[in-house]
């Protein structure tokens, strides 16, 4: 058997497997179309029947078997950028950021402070971080990993300046960021207050 016929056989068996019904009509149709695969089709028909009959029988899973496969996957998968620094803002559209800003009740410059990583993460209350992560559809862990990186120029923003902007100004506390962004004092206090 050639590689091509292996491939064809697999496609046919896959197509049969995902048919919505596995009654005599379906089996006959495949047997007539692909008589050379009769044995495989009948075997698969029986296997699907047995799978349905035992679907509720649970069995212990061999985690080592799974970990071995995961290790093999990473060994074979194409190299990817390092996980640290995955940008949770990258996949979020600008109108979504506006919605997020409104739901958090902060000016857009506060969101930019996070996006450019100028805020010191240690000074941000956990509740606010969790809300921000949820709004970005990411996890708090991922957001933390991103924010731990050095300050950067906010992507996609234009600067009206004679000098090229730099991102080496160091990090500021969440409180300073809120002050710089002219968040009213009442709202500042609310945002800085730890939640129960």
């Amino acid at each position: 058997m050639t590689d091509q016929s292996y491939h064809d056989a697999e496609e046919i068996l896959m197509a049969f497997a995902v048919e919505p019904e596995h009654d005599l009509g379906t089996l006959e149709r495949y047997l007539r179309l692909y008589p050379e695969l009769a044995e495989d089709l009948i075997d698969l028909s029986m296997e699907l029947r047995l799978q349905r009959a035992t679907v509720d029988v649970s069995e212990p899973v061999d985690e080592a078997w799974i970990e071995a496969s995961l290790a093999d996957f990473h060994a074979a998968a194409p190299a990817r950028p390092a996980a640290q620094g995955a940008d949770p803002f990258a996949a979020v559209a600008s109108d979504e950021l506006v919605t997020l800003r409104r739901s958090l009740d902060v000016p857009s410059s506060v969101i930019q402070g996070f996006r450019s990583r100028t805020v010191d993460i240690a000074t941000v209350p956990a509740g606010f971080l969790a809300d921000l992560a949820r709004g970005l559809r990411t996890g708090v862990g991922e957001l933390n990993a991103f924010l731990a990186g050095p300050p950067r120029l906010t992507p996609g923003l234009s600067y009206k300046s004679d000098h090229a902007p730099s991102a080496d100004g160091g990090k500021v506390t969440f409180e300073t960021l809120l002050e710089q962004c002219r968040v009213p004092e009442d709202r500042r206090r609310q945002l800085l207050k730890p939640r129960n």
Binding site: M1, Y6, A9, E10, L13, M14, A15, F16, A17, V18, D23, L24, E28, L31, R32, A38, E39, D40, I42, D43, L44, S45, M46, E47, L48, R49, L50, Q51, A53, T54, V55, D56, V57, E59, V61, D62, E63, W65, I66, S69, L70, D72, F73, A76, A77, P78, R80, A83, A86, A93, E96, A133, R134, L136, R137, T138, G139, V140, G141, E142
Partner: protein, 269 residues
């Protein structure tokens, strides 16, 4: 928030129409794509398939394929682990395989092969998006069964030449077989209320010789054993044997073996 779209499948059927996911999978995906990763990972911990928060395997395939341009290894790894647990569950247990014999392949080898082929498909899908994994989003466990069949087929064909020509073409079943056959409604046995008993029946069927098991499947599908009408597809014709007697002999031998394995006495007991 913007609505996140669920990508359509691209694999096409023989008639050119595209494959689609089952309605319940589409509905689940539509809400899953709006969850944060932490929320999805929490959902993966739900083991009870009847829970509304249980993530169907087809959805996990979609989610893991969607991480193609992603570098969040933690999220990917958890999806991968859970998907492999589902894959393991969809495969028959190792002890369900018949050990040795020219027609059977060792069960553990089959499981490893399916796992490794699936992994390769996933690597390929990430490097160059294709449609090979679409089947797993239509019906995950069935696609796993098909992959298992294909992977076993390759090994089996290598051994097929050692398969002896059977001598079932003629002759009567042995007296022992005749005595043991009695009546056994396999269909009913597989519908037992007791899941452990159903597992036992499935095991007994899986360990039958291939030729006998195939006869049982065709009988369960209510395919006629033989017919004078040339247009009717019959078990005899599918098997390519000369006599319907061969079919009956295989059926009787299979029933006798199953009765013995299930501890069901013969009618003469």
């Amino acid at each position: 928030m913007q609505t996140r779209k669920v990508e359509r499948l691209t694999k096409r059927k023989r008639d050119g129409t595209p494959y689609t996911r089952r309605v319940e999978v589409e509905i689940a995906l539509t809400s899953l794509v709006h969850l944060s990763r932490d929320e999805i990972l929490e959902r993966l911990k739900v083991r009870d398939p009847t829970s509304p928060n249980h993530v169907q395997s087809e959805c996990i395939v979609y989610l893991i394929r969607a991480t193609r341009d992603d570098n969040d290894e933690r999220y990917f790894n958890e999806l991968y682990r859970e998907l492999m647990r589902r894959l393991a569950s969809a495969l028959p247990r190792v002890e369900g395989e018949r050990a040795g014999g020219p027609e059977n392949v060792d069960g553990a080898d089959a499981r490893d092969r399916v796992r490794d082929i699936f992994r390769l498909r996933l690597v390929e899908d990430r490097a160059a998006p294709g449609s090979a994994l679409d089947y797993f989003e239509v019906m995950f466990s069935s696609a796993v069964a098909a992959l298992r069949k294909t992977s076993m087929g390759r090994a089996r064909r290598q051994m097929a030449r050692r398969d002896a020509i059977d001598d079932e073409e003629s002759g009567e079943p042995s007296i022992a077989v005749e005595k043991a056959v009695g009546s056994l409604d396999v269909q009913q046995e597989l519908l037992s209320d007791d899941p452990n008993y159903r597992f036992k029946v499935a095991k007994a069927i899986r360990t039958l010789p291939d030729k006998q098991r195939r006869v049982i499947e065709m009988l369960l599908q209510r395919m006629p054993i033989d017919s004078i009408d040339d247009d009717v597809l019959t078990i005899r014709k599918v098997l390519g044997v000369k006599s319907e007697k061969t079919v009956r002999n295989r059926r009787d031998a299979a029933i006798a073996t199953m009765r013995e394995q299930l501890g069901i006495g013969s009618r003469n007991d």
